[in-house]
Symmetry: C2
Subunit: 365 residues, 2 copies
Amino acid sequence: MSANDTEPLDLATLRARIDEIDLRIQELISERARYAGQVGRAKGKLAAAVDYYRPEREAQVLRRVVDRNQGPLSDEVLVRLYREIMSACLAQQEPLKIGYLGPEGTHSQQAVYKHFGHSVHGLPLSSIEEVFQEVEAGNADFGVVPVENSSQGTIQSTLDMFLTSQVKICGEVELRVHQHLLSRSGRMEDIERVYSHPQSFAQCRAWLRQHLPKAETIPVASNAEAARRARNADDAAAIAGASAATVYGLRIVAGPIEDRPDNTTRFLVLGRELFTPSGHDRTSLLVFIRDQPGALYDVLAPFARHGLSMNRIESRPSYTGRWQYAFFIDVEGHAQDAAMQKALAELAGFAQDVKLLGSYPVAIP
Amino acid sequence: MSANDTEPLDLATLRARIDEIDLRIQELISERARYAGQVGRAKGKLAAAVDYYRPEREAQVLRRVVDRNQGPLSDEVLVRLYREIMSACLAQQEPLKIGYLGPEGTHSQQAVYKHFGHSVHGLPLSSIEEVFQEVEAGNADFGVVPVENSSQGTIQSTLDMFLTSQVKICGEVELRVHQHLLSRSGRMEDIERVYSHPQSFAQCRAWLRQHLPKAETIPVASNAEAARRARNADDAAAIAGASAATVYGLRIVAGPIEDRPDNTTRFLVLGRELFTPSGHDRTSLLVFIRDQPGALYDVLAPFARHGLSMNRIESRPSYTGRWQYAFFIDVEGHAQDAAMQKALAELAGFAQDVKLLGSYPVAIP
C-alpha cells in the first residue's frame, strides 16, 4: 500500500486508495477537533478561541511538521495545511478576531491568514495606530502590523506605537517577495519602458540603475497590471513576481532582481498577554536610557556577556524627556530563559526603564 | 483513545494525543500527495495541474466528506479543509491559474479560493469580458465570474458573453451573505441613521422601508466601516454581517434582515473543456429560437416530458438575427444522462441551435 510501488497503478486503483486515505484523514481531523474542544472546555463550557490560543504550542506543532516532512509536498504547503487544520479546530466556539491594516487584499491580510489560517474573523482597520488601539481595547483579540521591509527598512510608525501602548508582541510573520523582469521577447536590449508598482521599483532601484539606466520607469497600480501592459509591446517590460510570467505569457529576462536577496516584509502579531517559551523564540525589548557616553555599549554588553545574539537594534527619541533615548532591541531567546533573565537583571541596573514587549516564536516560513 | 471518554483528560495528555494524531494526518496527507502525483504522471512526467484537474471527481470527494461528517467541525469547515488538501496535492507541478474579476479582496476572489483552495495562482482581471478572453486564450486555466445575486438578479453582462464566447461552464460556486441591523444600544426606537454599503442597502430595501421608514440611510465604503461608525452614537445603526457585532461590540437589533432569506451570490467556473458526470449535476444550455407563438412552451416541453426539472430560464435578444431569441436554461442533470440526451434531441428538432454551455457539479456549500 505504499505509493512508491514500482508498478504504476491504474486510475481507478489510485482513486480508490485516495478515497481510503481521505476517509482516514477525516476521522483523524474530527478526532483532533474533539480533543481541541476538550482543551478549550473549561468548567464544562467551550471557551472562546482567544482564551485557549497558544502561539508557542502552534509553533511547536508546525516545527515538527517541517522536521518530519519528506515530501512530496513542500514545507510551506504542509505548514499552510496545518495552520488551517489548527485554525478550524480552534474556531469551534468563537473564532479569533484579528485586526490588520486594511483594506482587504493587502499584504497585511495575507500575513493574517498565513499566521492564523482562514478560520478567523479578519478585521480591516484604517491605520496601524488603530490596530494597536483595537487590540488594547479588546475589540480585536490580536493584531497584525508590518514592522520591517528588508528593502526599505523599519516602519517607524509601528515601533513608535510601543512607546505609549501596552500591547504585547506574541508572534511574527514573514512574507517573502521576489521580483523579476519580464517581457514578451525576453531580450534585454529591446526594453525601453518598464512598468511596475512604485514599491517594486523601490525594491529593485540599484538593479535598474545598473542594468537599464536609460529605460523609462512607469508606475502602475499593481504588478499584475504591469505584466498586462508589458504583454502588448516588444519595447516594454514589467517588474513582477515570476508567476506573472506564466500567467501573462511573458519571458523572464532576469531575476530575482530585488536589491536585497531576502526581500521580505516582517509583521508583528500583537496581543494583550505574554506567552511561555516555544523552544525557538525571540524577545523584543524597549530600553529607555539617558544619553551619556557609552550608553549604547552598556545596552549591548549584558546580552553579549550571556551569549545572547542580537538581531536588531534601533534607537528612537523617546518623547518622554530631553536627552533620553529609547532603544528597540530584538534578541534571540525567551524572557523566561535563565541567560535572558540574568541579562535583563543587569540591564535593569543602569537603564531608566526596560519594557518587555514580548517573547514569541521565531517566524516559521 | 476516543475523545468522548467521560473522564476529562489533563492538558498534557490531550496535547500528546493531538501530537499523535498530527503525525498520522501528516503521513496520510503525504501519501495522498504521492498518489495524486501518480494520477498526474502521464508518461513518467508530472503534468501541469490543468491537465488532470477533474471537477466532477472533486465534487464526489467533497460530497462524501459531508455525508460522513458527524462533527464536531461543521460541513463547511471540513469542506474547506478538503479543498485545501486537494488543492495542495494538485499543485505539485504547476498550479492552476484562475482568472477572476479583480481587484483582490472582492467576493469573486473569495469564490476562487472557496472553490479551488489556496494552492492556485489567482489572476485579478479588470472586467468580466476579460475573464472570458483569458480563459479562451489559454492564459488562465479557469475563470470565475458572478452570474446571479439572489437580491438583484442575473448579471446580464455575464450571460451575454456566452453568446459569442466558446468557453464552457465547468462548475458553480455560491457565497451566502446574511445582513443584520446592529447598534450600540440594541434598541430599534433609538435609530435615526443607518450606515452600510450601497449593495447591502439594496439587499434590505423592503425591510428598511417597513421597519425604519424615517431613518436616514448613509452609504459608506464597506460594512465594516458602517459598524465602526455605528459604535460611536446611540442614534446610529449599521447593516453588516453578524460577525461585525462581535468585532465592534454592537448588539444585533434585528436579523437576518435581507429581503431574500437565501441572499447568495452565484458564480460560474469557466474552462475550455466539458467534463463527465459527478452524480449530481446541472446543465446550462443556450437555445436559439425564432420568435413564434408557443416558442417558450416548445423549449420547456422536452425537459418536462423527461422529468428534468428546470432551475432557471432567461430570455435574451440574441443579436444574431431579427426576431430571434436566445434562452439561457439551467436544468438538473448531466448532458450524458439518458433522459437529458433524449430531451436535447427533441429540442434540436425545432430549435435553430442548441449550445451546450456545460454540465457541472451542483455547488457544494
